[in-house]
Every structure is written in C-alpha cells, then in structure tokens.
C-alpha cells in the first residue's frame, strides 16, 4: 500500500479524542511547532488504521508530528509534542 493511502484527515481522530474530552476539538485551531502553520486539527493529516493501537497526527504543510495517541492495556497516552498551542471553543456556559 502506498504511503498516501494510509493518510486520513484529522477529522477522523474525533472519535478517539471524543473518548477523552467533552469539547469538540477537530474544529479547534492549533499551531505547528515545526513550521508555525495554524489550522483546524480536522484539516491536518492523520495516520491511523483500525487494527493499529495508535494514531499519528501530522501537519498538512510540513508533515511534522503534532500529536500521537496510543491505546493499550486500558490506558490512553496522548503526546502533544508538536503543537505550540491549541485554541478550543469554550462551551462551558452553554451546558443545558
């Protein structure tokens, strides 16, 4: 399988992140530490396979690793090693 066939959109990580966070983060914007580009997580490149224990999110412009998420033995490890910041909509006031 060619490399690009493994590539998904960051939007596809929404289910995994939804297990951890109450806020929707795929439309949150983040800044890449590698090249400084700013964009929605959902627009970045995601490398993930249903049979793999983890997912890797990379910058769509420079392919630097932004985030790695690994599920194993009842734990989830989230390494946010390539983002300067992540800007998430604050919905706290809107809980019904």
């Amino acid at each position: 399988m060619e490399d690009n066939q493994m590539r998904l959109d960051g939007n596809a990580i929404a289910g995994l992140l939804g297990e951890l966070f109450t806020a929707e983060v795929t439309d949150a914007r983040g800044a890449c530490l590698g090249c400084g580009a700013v964009g929605a997580l959902g627009a970045q490149h995601l490398y993930m396979h249903p049979l793999a224990p983890g997912a890797v999110l990379r910058c769509r412009w420079c392919e630097s690793v932004l985030m790695v998420l690994v599920h194993a033995e009842g734990r989830v490890r989230l390494a946010v090693r390539g983002m300067a910041w992540l800007d998430i909509e604050d919905n706290a006031e809107r809980i019904d």
Binding site: N4, Q5, M6, R7, E19, A43, P50
Partner: protein, 251 residues
C-alpha cells in the same frame, strides 16, 4: 443546533434497525432508531461496533447520510468491501429489528450548517457521497436557497448511489445542479461526463474562486488528494476546501 448535546463524552448506545434500502448492488442504507440521539450536524460521522461471541470487537466509522431534522432516526449508507470485517455484515447479514452498537455524532470539522451559507461545491467519489447527501438533504429540508453544485464520480451508472433522489433534488429551480461522471463504463445514452475528475473538469464545473465557494470533498484518498490539489491550483483558498478521505478503513 445540537451544540449543548456535545457537552458529554462519547458513549456507546444501542440502535434498532427499522428499515433496509438497497441503493446499488454493493451499497445499502440502514435506517436506525436511536433512543436518546442528541442530534447531529450535516457531515458528521459515527462509529459502529460489532462484537463477536468470543468478545472480539471491530469498530468502523460511517458518515451519517440523513439530515439532522429526523429526530431519533438516522440513516447510514454502507458499501460492501469484499475483504472487509464489518461492511459485509452490515450490507448482507443485518436484518430489520436487529440491534447495533453505535456512538456519535463525531467530528466538528467536515460539517455544513445552514448559517455557513454558500455557494456550496460538493465533490464526491463513490460512497463519499454520504456526508454530502446529509448536507443536500439539510439544504432541501430547510428550503435553503444557497446555490449548490454536486460533482459526483461513480464507476458506472449502476454504481450511482441515491441516483433517483439526486435527480429529483437537482430539478430545475432547485438551485442544485448535479453533474455525474462515470469512470469505467458509460452507457450509449449517457449525457453526463466521462472519466476521472481532473483539473480541467473542475475548471468547467466548479464555481470560480471569486465566488468564494465552500468546498467539501469526500471519497477515496487518491481522489480526494487529486481534487484538493487541483482546486488549490485553480486558485481556491485551501482553507475553504474541506476534505474527508476514506483511507484504509478496512471496511
């Protein structure tokens, strides 16, 4: 809008199959009743989980094809992948009355809400039509006047998903223009386009960059990447081109 409903972590819930619709020889739609469904936005997806008797579980993501205005009723449209683990069961074994584990809605990026406006340029390959169909159904259900175009690539006429509904929705005066292209077989009376979507076809069919369309591209990874690159080459703002690649979903 189901914003408030997003204020919770994702949890699995049980849905019941209420109707099955054969769309093409390889594709069928599952109409599900989901008690407590919090609502969704057009373009969002959901996860389906199948668990075998020995406890082995397989999960797959599917786009929601129905508009957000059907209460606790949802439609998923599933294409059978011959070497898949989940799609053969969903397309061949599942019966009305069966229960299915699912969670959602998921994703806040590849979505279209009425207030986002348009014009809308939707581009699909194969079952990539599903989340775009949710947008078109949303648009029609709300009698939205947002101008919309759909460029839809299928292998053959028999493989066009929602063919009748698209024909109906694209009627004169609807503000929706549906353009089909067939990549493998074109029948003798075919009046649509032929061949894969390329930059020349997009240049003919898509709104001009000066119209500032909102673009959604969904389908196999290769198609999505070619289309997204071509749109940017044509002068469209990459920020307005949203993509959803199927990738190696494993079916």
């Amino acid at each position: 809008m189901a914003r408030a409903a997003l204020q919770r972590r994702l949890t699995w819930r049980l849905a019941e199959v209420t109707q099955l619709v054969a769309e093409t020889p390889r594709v069928r739609s599952l109409v599900l009743e989901v008690p407590g469904w919090p609502g969704h936005r057009a373009g969002q997806h959901m996860d389906v989980r199948l668990t075998a008797e020995d406890g082995y579980a397989a999960e797959r993501s599917y786009s929601i094809a129905s508009a957000p205005d059907a209460g606790e009723q949802l439609t998923l449209t599933v294409e059978r992948l011959d070497d898949g683990e989940v799609s053969p069961y969903l397309t061949e074994e599942l019966r009305v009355g069966d229960q299915l584990e699912l969670r959602g809605p998921i994703g806040g990026y590849f979505v279209w809400d009425l207030e986002m406006g348009g014009p809308l340029m939707l581009i699909a390959g194969g079952s990539g039509i599903c989340p775009l169909m949710a947008m078109l159904r949303r648009r029609a259900g709300a009698s939205s006047k947002v101008p919309a175009r759909l460029l839809y690539s299928s292998r053959s006429r028999e493989d066009i998903i929602y063919r009748e509904e698209l024909h109906r929705r694209g009627a004169a005066g609807s503000g929706l223009e549906v353009i089909h292209t067939l990549t493998r077989v074109q029948p003798p009376d075919w009046t649509g386009r032929a061949g894969r979507i390329d930059q020349a076809m997009l240049n003919d069919v898509a709104w001009s960059p000066t119209d500032r369309p909102l673009m959604y591209v969904c389908g196999p990874t290769t198609l999505v990447e070619h289309v997204a690159d071509a749109l940017v080459n044509l002068g469209h703002d990459p920020e307005r081109v949203k993509t959803e690649r199927f990738g190696p979903t494993g079916g």
